[in-house]
């Protein structure tokens, strides 16, 4: 899923201050799962914001709404009436959702309420970890399904650096060394010998380095 973290209320307050009526728009998929922008977070943020604004004597009307996904037109349209009633939208979706809302409603200011952080998983309760950079050319098969591009701090493709210690990364002992995980997993699979092979430099053209990407599916074009 896309993992994100809600911005601090002080920053959000600053973003909405120029407006008289603001819609806090939640997104019910990824950011709901990571407790950043679902229905519950919309409600909590709305009360917090109302309180903070009223304490400063500011009169801003705050409306709440959550749609299933802000990255699909079908769901975005369900927010059209509420958006029309307000002067600005504070979107709690990921960066894609914020931009899709803005694209759909060109005359409405759309403000981000969430910092989009990474593509990851819920490793355990309360812990989300980054797993994928969306590099466009998946090589997980070589690395025992542990990605060194996303999970090694130096993106090393040919083995661990000299800073791997007790399974941890030199950057921060709370980070697992991706290469330790790769080696452990390949050992488990009986394929450790495969890690003796040289891995070519990455072709970054299919990543964001090649410019913003598009995926065209001719078979789905109507």
């Amino acid at each position: 899923m896309i993992v994100g973290e809600q911005k601090k209320i002080a920053e959000i307050k600053e973003l909405v201050e120029p407006y008289g009526k603001v819609l806090i728009l939640g997104c019910g998929t990824c950011v709901k799962t990571c407790f950043a922008g679902g229905e519950d977070e919309v409600a909590t943020l709305a009360s917090g914001l109302r309180l903070a604004l009223s304490m400063e004597g500011k009169e801003i009307a705050v409306e709440e709404l959550t749609v299933e996904r802000q990255c699909e037109d079908e769901f975005i349209q369900q927010a059209a009436a509420a958006i029309a009633r307000n002067e600005a939208v504070l979107s709690l979706a990921c960066g894609a959702g914020v931009q899709d809302i803005a694209r759909t409603f060109p005359k409405v200011p759309v403000l981000p309420g969430v910092n989009t952080t990474f593509i990851g998983i819920l490793e355990k309760h309360g812990l989300f970890t980054e797993e994928c950079l969306g590099c466009g050319d998946c090589k997980l098969a070589i690395f025992g399904s542990v990605c060194p591009i996303a999970r090694c701090s130096k993106k090393l493709l040919n083995g661990p650096c000299g800073g791997s210690k007790d399974g941890k990364c030199e950057v921060d002992p709370s980070i697992d060394c991706a290469w330790q995980l790769i080696i452990d997993r390949m050992k488990e699979l009986g394929q450790l010998g495969r890690l003796k092979s040289y891995v070519e430099p990455k072709d970054w053209r299919r990543s964001n380095a090649g410019g913003p990407r598009k995926l065209v599916r001719q078979d789905h074009i109507v």
Partner: protein, 316 residues
Amino acid sequence: MSTPTAPISNLQNLLSQGEFVVTAECGPPRGADADAVAKKVAYLKGFVDAVNVTDNQTAIVRMSSIAASTHLLQQGVEPVMQMVTRDRNRIALQSDIMGAYSLGIRNILCLSGDHQSFGSQPDALNVFDIDSLHLIRAVRTMRDEGKDMSGFELKGAPRMFIGAAENPFADPFEYRVIRLAKKIDAGVDFIQTQCIYNMERFKAWMKMAREEGLTEKVHILAGVTPLKSAGMASYMAHKVAGMDIPESLLKRIADVPKEKASREGIAICLETIEELKTIPGVRGIHIMAIEWEQKVEEIVRAAGLLPRPAQAPTDC
């Protein structure tokens, strides 16, 4: 190992002749003062065979390794230019290697580099377009095939003696020798190791390297760093990534009176060198006297490694 007709560098020449070599390190200044480089190099000239010039080590912004290496050349000291993949993509790395060669630099040490989070500007974006193995292979391909990474035939190939680092003390231990073998396959001619304090572990690593026949394929220079004080020892042991200093050694330096600690540090360093000389496959030592270059002469002399052999004429 490459066997060119004329020696590429003094370092390559001495190693190919079976000489037990001595290299040292010079960290460029945090500023544009060439005299600061000259001052450090003056402490080393004549007492070592080549001097590593670090590339923004520990991710602290310093004078570039190419520029500082060029200052060394002007002083008649052979540099080993360090180059990390942290700050430059493959385009900049290849370009700088060609530029360095054109200035007379003949030895390169290919590294990935300390992560920028340790440095003076942790808010910087890193690059890591390629890793140190890719860099080794790129330099070899430029040298032996005269082509850049795209396969383009270069007008004048940089002929470099290629080094890399290894840390026998990092984990996972069983993979360290595999990684060494991968670096040799990629084209590395010499290895300089992380500072050795844990002799048992170093010997175990060397044994594995010998069993795999790797010491026949690459020149291994064993790294040493004299400890200046108990404080420095403790800092290195606990704060510097990839360092392994046994408790017994920390205690030994902590137990002597403060004013005698640096002498004890030198004594430990000399004992280490004596032991390293006896390990089959160790072809020399690499002395990293961090901000203590003035002690290198004393160490090399006391280790019985002076005078250094005369520098043979190379192709530069």
